[in-house]
């Protein structure tokens, strides 16, 4: 049940990119090793190599002193090396139980014929989920769960393996505090049982709580490893970025114009996702909506943007009532929406960075329906520069970017439309500390120029930092409003959990 992992000169090359550069390190057993590094530094690549998802270009790795060669994820699983991947990897049409036991459903025997034992699969799943204190039924279909819930299912799935080495690639990026607590409880228990873990996160605050050691990567290279107890967050940031870090954001003054409600929502309902939602967004404001997992924030934003229908209620943009919103019309009148699950719905993975950055502004750039790449290039260059997107060439497919850089592309795509109103649903998901600041800065800069935005994030610290005003949402209802400058983290957390 325990594992010492050693890597010797582990290298992975993608085309011109050295994603992992002679990575050599020994990960001691029964400990939680945090992997830190900015976007594109090679963390996921390391995990993917260890998990048998990709094969290293060169170098060796060993498990408890024995060489390991994984030619497929199946090999890794057989060696009890289990991974929670950065991007969700569940089968949407299948049930929770089947996803958890995918490829290893319990069997029973009848007349010498082995067949899947569905009852047992359900029971085992139920026990597992109850143990994790999750309120999800074993028969629920994955596609009907919110992203956060899906993330917890993935964690449950990993737990069901009894891993000796557990690799967690940003498991908390879609989780709110309550679920993060749940996860940490589980991880501590596993550590006690001897499981070795690698843990990737961009949330510095989590490290103190859960990590034993911190290993920092930069440009695929091993920069250093320190004991968590003997280090500080700023030391880690230094290692991650070299000495260019530490530009704490300037205090800012709210640009909101309380006399100009650019967006009014009245009595919006779609049961059971949300009910009777009313609020106003002022010109130049950064409005936060805070809430626990599944509170209904995403659903409300999608409905306003016209991506999903609603049953009743009114949406008024700039004094004009919108009858049947659809994304196309809303884009036209100056709204924008960055979705929370970029891989599935934010990007066209096979297409170039150029095309992805020009998608939402396509019609703006082509007033007569005619378009050329040259007309789009300034916008592409601008976003790559502004957001420091780490690219080789804008013609590479966006799928070749690291998770965080992909998120920046989603963001840049919308910035190119010069929107009046933006909805940011988890814009900092999977983005490193520095890039996060860049994104926030852009949101503020734009606010100064008159952009009004709604900001949704599972990270409450972030909400306090970014927003001018925070609405609280619980179980599908707007239950109140807070002024971030007058609110502590604990207060915000309590408000989300228990109401005002």
């Amino acid at each position: 049940m325990s594992a010492i992992v050693e890597t010797q000169g582990l290298t992975k090359v993608y085309g011109n990119v050295v994603a992992l550069d002679k990575f050599t390190h020994r990960f001691e057993k029964s400990r939680i090793h945090a992997l830190m590094g900015k976007n594109g530094s090679g963390k996921s690549t390391l995990v993917n190599v260890l998990a048998g998802v990709v094969q290293p270009t060169s170098g060796q790795m060993s498990l408890n002193g024995k060489d390991m060669h994984f030619s497929s994820p199946a090999d890794a699983l057989n060696a009890n090396v289990v991974t929670v991947h950065q991007e969700l990897s569940l089968v949407p049409e299948l049930s929770v139980a089947e996803n958890i036991y995918l490829g290893r459903m319990p069997k029973s025997h009848f007349l010498g014929i082995s067949k899947i034992d569905w009852t047992s699969a359900r029971t085992k799943t139920k026990i597992l989920l109850e143990d994790m204190k999750l309120e999800i039924g074993p028969d629920a279909i994955i596609s009907s769960l919110s992203v956060g819930q899906q993330q917890t299912v993935e964690i449950a799935k990993a737990m069901s393996f009894n891993p000796s080495l557990l690799l967690l690639d940003e498991p908390t990026s879609a989780l709110a505090s309550k679920e993060v607590e749940m996860l940490f409880r589980l991880l501590r228990r596993l550590r006690k049982q001897g499981t070795t873990m690698m843990y990737i996160s961009h949330r510095m605050s989590e490290l103190a709580e859960i990590a034993d050691t911190v290993t920092v990567l930069r440009d695929g290279k091993h920069i250093g490893t320190v004991e968590m107890a003997e280090t500080t967050n700023s030391d880690i940031v230094d290692m991650m970025f070299g000495n260019v870090a530490h530009n704490r954001p300037a205090e800012r003054v709210s640009q909101a114009d309380p006399n100009n409600a650019i967006l009014k929502v009245q009595g919006l309902s779609r049961k059971p996702a949300y009910e009777d939602v009313s609020f106003e967004l002022f010109k130049g404001e950064v409005l936060g909506i805070a809430g626990m997992l599944g509170a209904g924030r995403t659903e409300v934003l999608r409905s306003i943007f016209g991506a999903d229908p609603f049953d009743s209620g009114e949406i008024i943009v700039d004094g004009q009532k919108i009858k049947d919103p659809d994304p196309q019309y809303m884009t036209e009148i100056g709204l924008g929406y960055t979705p929370e699950n970029r891989k599935e719905v934010g990007l066209v993975q096979a297409h170039s960075i150029h095309n992805n950055l020009s998608m939402a502004s396509l019609r703006q750039n082509a007033p007569l329906g005619i378009i050329t790449k040259a007309a789009e290039r300034p916008g592409v260059i601008k976003q790559v520069d502004n957001l420091h997107i780490k690219i080789d060439s804008a013609e590479d497919p966006v799928s070749s970017l690291s998770g965080g850089n992909q998120q920046k592309v989603v963001f840049g795509n919308w910035m190119n439309t010069n929107p009046k109103i933006m909805f940011f649903d988890e814009p900092s998901r999977g983005v490193d500390v520095q890039a996060k600041q860049q994104i926030f800065k852009i949101i503020w800069d734009q606010a100064e120029k008159g952009l009004s935005s709604i900001f949704v994030s599972t990270e409450l610290e972030e909400m306090l930092e970014v927003c001018d005003r925070i609405l609280i949402m619980r179980e599908g209802r707007m239950i109140g409003e807070l002024d971030p400058s007058q609110t502590t983290l604990t207060e915000l957390y309590t408000a989300c959990m228990e109401g005002l």
Partner: protein, 319 residues
């Protein structure tokens, strides 16, 4: 309440029943036992293949070559029978022929899977090419003339009766049960859904995604060969022009049965309904002596209508 629920969840069953009742009154001779047995025998061959095709489509692939595959396997069987019959007697010769046909089509299915795996070649195009290749091969084997090497007794397989029921119907039922079991109670079957629903997730879960797809393609090859042998038995010869255009009928049946062309979703039970639906349409229209041209229009319209109904009701249930 219960009934509307059932209706919404199983629209095709209802459509089938409505059509059935209509035909009982409108089509002379439709309601006789004989005719019903006839319908059953007529759907056997395409049905068998449709069961296999369900697995392929659920796994996210497709096979367009089955029409030629049927003709090819009939011709191979007839040819081997002709070559061996004098030496080994008809029983052994035919058995050898049929087994050879199954082995070849299994191999071709596996090859198709390998091309998909190693070169990412869409099965759509590989099997489209095979459609032509196998048709050419069947013609080369027969030199354009049906091979009439079978003894009359061989007719039993495709046209005989056992306990009053056409013999091929037993094969049909057996294979249905087999595929039903595979798809619901084996790792292979569940892997089909996983692989078709999210290939990458399946791979990350340790499923051998290529083995799964390849096996589905190979098994369907075997089923195609079986259908080919049954056809050969019915027409007592191996003919290169048999089963032309079946691929589209079979795929229609699978889709009518509610299987998603995008993979990951579908049941073999639905396919059975789809097969019956098409079988009953053809039978009913022939009995009613609908003119050939109208048959085309009605048949196409009913296919579109049935799938439309399926989707329209599906939406309602979800909303």
């Amino acid at each position: 309440m219960q009934i509307t629920q059932f209706f919404r969840r199983h629209p095709m069953e209802i459509i089938l029943i409505v059509m059935f009742i209509f035909l009982v009154f409108a089509a002379p001779g439709f309601a006789t036992v004989n005719n019903q047995l006839n319908v059953l025998r007529n759907i056997t061959m395409q049905g068998i293949i449709a069961f296999g095709m369900t697995m392929i489509i659920v796994s996210g692939e497709i096979d367009l070559s089955i029409g030629s595959g049927v003709a090819f396997s009939g011709c191979v069987t007839a040819w081997i029978t002709r070559e061996l019959v004098d030496v080994t007697g008809p029983f052994f010769a035919i058995t050898m022929g049929a087994l050879t046909a199954m082995a070849i089509l299994f191999g071709i299915g596996v090859l198709t899977g390998k091309l998909r795996q190693h070169f990412n070649m869409p099965t759509f195009i590989t099997t489209l090419g095979l459609l032509t290749v196998l048709s050419g091969a069947a013609n080369l084997i027969t030199d354009g003339f049906p091979i009439t090497s079978f003894p009359y007794e061989f007719n039993f397989l495709g046209s005989g009766y056992l306990f009053g029921i056409p013999f091929p119907v037993y094969i049909f039922i057996t294979l249905f049960a087999l595929v039903y079991f595979l798809m619901n109670y084996t790792s292979f079957g569940r892997s089909l859904y996983a692989v078709g629903g999210n290939l990458e997730a399946a791979r990350l879960s340790g499923i051998d995604v290529w083995k799964t797809k390849t096996l589905a393609l190979g098994l369907t090859g075997v089923f195609t060969a079986i259908a080919g042998v049954l056809i050969a038995s019915q027409i007592l010869s191996g003919s290169a022009s048999a089963a032309r255009g079946w691929e589209l009928d079979v795929i229609s049946a699978v889709i009518i049965g509610g299987t998603s062309l995008f993979g990951g979703k579908g049941t073999v039970r639905g396919t059975l309904i789809g097969v019956l639906f098409l079988g009953v349409i053809v039978n009913g229209m022939t009995l009613m002596n609908v003119s050939e041209y109208w048959q085309y229009v009605v048949r196409g319209g009913l296919i579109i209508g049935a799938v439309w109904m399926n989707h329209a009701l599906d939406r309602k249930v979800k909303a």
